[in-house]
Point group: C2
Chain length 160, copies 2
């Protein structure tokens, strides 16, 4: 009892190998690089890009559905759509059957942005995953899917 407990000495975490940290660092680096593309070419944010991408793929959708599909908070969608509408990239048609919601579509301007960005975004992705073999790419896709399930379901309601 002469040494005053020589430090709690928890085995430390090595941040560099801590999965949540690593995922975040990679995702952030990728997002940032991609955002630069959207921003410099068309002055749009990633949220705006996601709205455009969703409408480019599905033609017509409500804000709620866009949010569900692109996994964005409804206020984020609302504001992204508002900006895009102000810039005439998205058109709103209220639904006569349910006046709470409105169908959103790309305008010609919006589609022009989409058409311009799609090949570049794909090229970006290709360049990114050039570091991986085809098998690795497939593997990564599968692993991300598993993590996604795990992250949304399991984690977050753990013990405590």
């Amino acid at each position: 009892m002469n040494v005053k407990s020589p430090k709690p000495a928890v085995t430390p975490i090595e941040l560099e190998h801590f999965l949540p940290y690593r995922l975040n660092v990679v995702a952030e680096a990728v997002s940032r690089a991609l955002a630069r593309l959207y921003e410099t070419r068309h002055g749009i944010s990633i949220a705006e890009w996601r709205v455009i991408a969703t409408l480019g793929q599905y033609t017509q959708m409500t804000a709620k559905d866009i949010g569900a599909h692109s996994r964005m908070h409804k206020t984020k969608v609302s504001r992204a759509v508002a900006r895009l509408e102000a810039r005439q990239c998205v058109a709103r048609t209220s639904n006569a059957e349910d006046m709470r919601e409105a169908f959103l579509e790309l305008t010609d301007d919006g589609r022009a942005i989409y058409d311009d960005l799609v090949p570049r975004a794909l090229a970006f992705e290709r360049k990114l995953s050039d570091a991986l073999t085809v098998e690795e790419q497939a593997s990564l896709d599968a692993l991300l899917s598993k993590l996604e399930v795990s992250a949304f379901d399991d984690v977050g309601d753990g013990e405590t």
Copy 2:
């Protein structure tokens, strides 16, 4: 010339399989769940956790080194450290050899938080990667490393 060019018709991107999007969604879900842990137990943010984790691992460091190690913008580090200092979790000792910088260390309170969070963070990670086999975990780690390199070096200074 009777049809007015039947839509540009770029092959659309499927957002659900677009790597940057997927990485971001997974990373965000994981971060959010983990942040809830740090927040509810100790009222700290992820940035603050990263500072604590870095100091927990390396004992003493300057703000600059913390930023480099945990890949955070210097203003983010500065503000996180300021909050932690105000809460007596981090102590600052200015370097007599170079008065611009200061060495940072965890106080007892800071270390208590660290000691409390480390096993929980590791449990969280374990739970998360329980969805994967051991080989898959190793594979993911390697793939993330490759992507990290790719994202930081290659991409971002492409053509245009």
